[in-house]
Amino acid sequence: MLVFKYVIGVVMKKIIFTIFLSLLVLSSCSKKEDKELKISTNPWIGYAPLFYAKEMGYLNKLNISLIHNISLSESTKLYSMGKVDMIAATQHEYFSLLKIGEDIVPISLLDRSDGGDIVLSNRSLNELKSADKIFAYLEIDSINIDIIKDFIKHHKLDMNKIEFINADQVQIADLQINKNKNMLLVTYVPYNYTLEKSGFIQLASTKNLNSIVVVDGILINKKVLQDNKEKLLKFKQIIDKSITEITKNKQASYKLVKKYLDNMPYNEYIESFELIKWENIPSKEILDKLKDINYESKYLLK
């Protein structure tokens, strides 16, 4: 009987131990997982490294997801709604978000537009100068506004003759030449190719608009930066790695990223790289220019 009781006692102890172990395992299961970070992008050749990293699975490994919008304006809206943690945007979006109180900082530069932002028209520059009325199509809440301002100022056009029409790039890309209208379009790669095929002619671009610098970077909330410093450092390394790989093998990268760029032809894809300069490792020149426009550079990751 003593042996019988001993056996029962041992079995009970084991069961109690198992239950405690189960509770321990259960409690460990509830540990919070690594937070997913979302980055909002839109079709722009300068964001190709992000598309490439996504397709290569580099972003998945860091638990970073990519949301693809049609325009910077929509990306900005998503950010302001709190739907994304980061956006790939120009300095225009950066300043706009600062203005409405967002605590946002750039952590990495991607590229500088070197002809990638373009002013198109169905008229020549002189015809426009002499025109009574000009219909300017642009994405008002974007870098387009800075480009057209610079264009107007540079070519001394009469602001009062111009009617500004706010449209996103998809709408602009759909525009057809109206012979009765003096049309002025501000667009960027890859939307320009469609428009140029429709007969619009290029009047200016960031290549020859020397008074303005258009720079793209990764913008992020400062708190998110503090909470995910390690991950973002790796993210920066991925950006650098992706740029290197894209530069080395454009053809391979094209297959992966073309769907993010409205399936632009390969030759346009190649040409597009001529219209930007990679600034992931920023040059002194660009840093000086950014300083001039109060673009924060102290949070840029290295």
Binding site: M1, G9, L23, S80, M81, G82, K83, I100, M159, N221
Partner: protein, 663 residues
């Protein structure tokens, strides 16, 4: 030391742990649901604000704000969690507010930007702000929107969730606990309790159990108990039965007789105890071996079982001793009937291989309650009666009588006295003169052993010699006699008594142990005149193993001793003895002398003396008590006599005095 914990306590602890773990899981599940709900609500708000912002940035016209009203109203009215929306201009003036309630007070100082919605607690945050970017040509300016959440709705929503989860948890945990308790009780506690009872009482075997381990214990217990029962039965059988015969053993017999005594006290029933002892069984073992002895014992067992009734008891006490208890005996006839059957059945020969044996037994009978009211008395008395039956000639039976008891007591007393006698000098040699008939002078004497009880005086030899022979005490006693007698001769040497010849009697038991006897005599005769020592043997000692006896007689003769034939004429009186054995003296038995006046006896005495004279053997007449007898003996030329006419046996000092007086 193992800390004991009942299964019920264990179950309660387990259920408590299940309660805690389930509560924890439910709480986690609730938090998860709440979080998912939060995300859905946040996404709902984000979605509505995103659309509103997009709509307003495209359609808000300062000059005609009414365009936005239906849109904003639709959003608020179709969304339960949005209580109101307010649009403020650059100077925080209200452009439009969706609610017209007077008690609605807007305080947007506690509102946070919609971009921080993920970090906020939607269930506690009442409002969020969002910017509306408008352009005057190319110059941006900002309006603000405020979205008010219906905190009441959210609170009720959360409360409902809590109540729902808590209710579900309670139902779940109560169901689980009741089910768990029922199952544990049914498949563990109840079976273990049954096993405990089974292990404690080992009576009713539980039916097979559902749990494999418990069933394993039940099966092991059942197997063990069955084995123990079997071993117990075997041990009981071994403890109550005689292994050779299968009959009851002594222990069992005592138990059963005690039961009969108890029964007899109530019902006045009588019973008889028959104590059987096989006659000469030792000879069977010695002659035919123990195997045959065992066969005989088994045969006897079967015979006894066959002759008694089913309710009678047959037991073997050991060796060749059996006891039969005849229950409910009405009269002696019934006993005699059984005795007769036993005798008849036992008379049939037992045959084994080449051996055949005709068994007989002596039976002593004691009756309850007449001869004893205890087992001990009944067995003892039947044993006494059995010995009496043996004394009466074996193959016989004897009912116990009170006189037998006295005999036994006397016998026991003498036995005890004898054992102590050698050390305490209770034994003494008496000397009876042998007188030369011609000279009427004492020429010899016979040393006769006497046992003197310090309380009652002299005990005659016929009372203790037989007992001494039966228990072999005669050997040390005989040695003592030889030593005393030879010492006496040694003392007499070179004295006036130096010519006296001294006779000692040698028992059949001593003679059977001839080697030791020879050595004893040889050892003790040193330093004495050996011609003065005479050994008296009766005829009876010579009957068995004659050749062996003759050898020792010759050896004694070679030492120089003389040999007398005692009590001649009472036994076989074979003349061949006189021819074969070198006797020096014949002692005519007293019975002839007593009846010497009878012609026949006179003739016998004459004849004996004549033959002895012819054979040159000395003749001594025993038991001579008067002068007529002496005259007759003198007439027929008998050489010596012994008897009361001269003297009865005397202590040494008196004998010596008598001897000296006749000089």
């Amino acid at each position: 030391m193992i800390k004991k914990l009942s299964i019920k306590s264990f179950t309660i602890i387990s259920m408590f742990l299940v309660f805690i773990s389930s509560g924890y899981l439910f709480y986690q599940s609730f938090l998860d649901t709440k979080n998912n709900t939060r995300i859905l609500l946040e996404e709902n708000i984000q979605f509505n604000i995103l659309n509103t912002k997009y709509y307003l940035e495209k359609n808000l016209n300062i000059k005609n704000p009414n365009r936005i009203k239906p849109y904003l109203n639709n959003i608020v009215y179709t969304n339960d969690i949005i209580k109101a929306m307010t649009i403020l201009d650059t100077k925080n003036n209200i452009i439009y507010q969706t609610t017209l309630s007077d008690d609605f007070k807007h305080d947007h100082t506690n509102c946070i930007s919609i971009s921080h919605i993920i970090d906020s607690n939607i269930f506690k945050q009442n409002c969020y702000t969002f910017s509306i970017k408008l352009f005057n040509k190319l110059e941006p300016y900002y309006y603000h929107g405020i979205i008010e959440l219906d905190s009441n709705y959210l609170n009720i929503f959360v409360k409902n969730k809590i109540i729902k989860y808590f209710s579900f948890f309670l139902i779940y945990i109560i169901t689980i606990m009741i089910t768990l308790w029922f199952i544990i009780n049914k498949v563990i506690i109840h079976p273990l309790e049954k096993l405990r009872q089974y292990a404690y009482y080992s009576t009713k075997i539980p039916r097979p159990f559902f749990i494999n381990e418990i069933e394993g214990i039940r099966y092991s217990l059942e197997f063990t108990f069955k084995r123990l029962k079997k071993e117990q039965d075997e041990l009981f059988h071994l403890s109550t039965r005689d292994p050779l015969s299968g009959l009851y053993n002594r222990l069992s017999l005592i138990e059963r007789i005690n039961w009969l005594i108890s029964k007899g006290k109530r019902s006045k029933n009588n019973f008889a105890v028959l104590f059987l002892d096989l006659d000469n069984f030792k000879n069977i073992n010695d002659s035919y071996g123990h195997n045959f002895g065992d066969i005989v014992l088994q045969h006897i067992s079967e015979v006894l079982l066959n002759v008694v009734r089913d309710n009678d008891i047959v037991a073997r006490l050991g060796g060749d001793e059996f006891v039969v208890v005849l229950t409910d005996v009405k009269n002696d006839k019934e006993i005699l009937s059984v005795l007769k059957r036993i005798k008849i059945e036992l008379s049939l020969p037992v045959t084994y291989e080449q051996y055949t044996y005709n068994a007989s037994c002596s039976i002593g009978i004691s009756l309850y309650p007449k001869d004893g009211i205890t087992v001990t008395d009944l067995l003892k008395n039947s044993d006494i009666a059995m010995y009496k039956a043996k004394d009466l000639g074996k193959n016989n039976f004897q009912f116990f009588e009170e006189t037998l008891q006295l005999e036994i007591q006397e016998r026991m007393k003498i036995q005890t006295l004898m054992i102590d006698g050698l050390e305490n000098h209770y034994f003494e040699l008496y000397y009876q003169p042998k007188v030369d008939i011609k000279t009427n002078k004492i020429v010899a004497c016979e040393a006769l052993i006497r046992l003197i009880d310090p309380k009652t005086g002299i005990i005659p030899p016929d009372k203790f010699i037989t007992i001494a022979e039966e228990n072999n005490f005669i050997i040390p006693l005989g040695d003592w006699i030889i030593k005393q007698a030879t010492n006496q001769l040694r003392i007499w040497n070179n004295t006036q008594f130096k010519d006296i010849k001294l006779s000692i009697n040698i028992s059949i038991v001593q003679l059977n142990n001839n080697a030791e006897l020879f050595e004893t005599i040889k050892h003790n005769i040193k330093g004495i005149d050996i011609s003065k020592l005479d050994i008296e043997l009766t005829e009876s000692v010579l009957i068995k193993d004659f050749d062996e006896k003759l050898k020792i007689i010759h050896k004694l003769k070679e030492l120089g001793l003389s040999i007398s034939l005692d009590d001649f004429g009472t036994g076989y009186s074979s003349l061949s003895y006189l021819k074969t054995i070198p006797f020096d003296t014949i002692k005519i038995d007293k019975s002839f002398i007593d009846d010497f006046e009878n012609n026949q006896d006179r003739s016998f005495i004459n004849m004996i003396v004549a033959i002895a004279n012819e054979l040159n053997i000395e003749v001594i007449a025993e038991g001579v008590e008067n002068k007529k007898q002496l005259k007759f003996l003198k007439d027929i030329q008998c050489q010596q006599y012994q008897g009361y006419l001269c003297s009865k046996p005397l202590p040494i000092n008196k004998f010596e005095k008598l001897f000296l007086n006749q000089l």
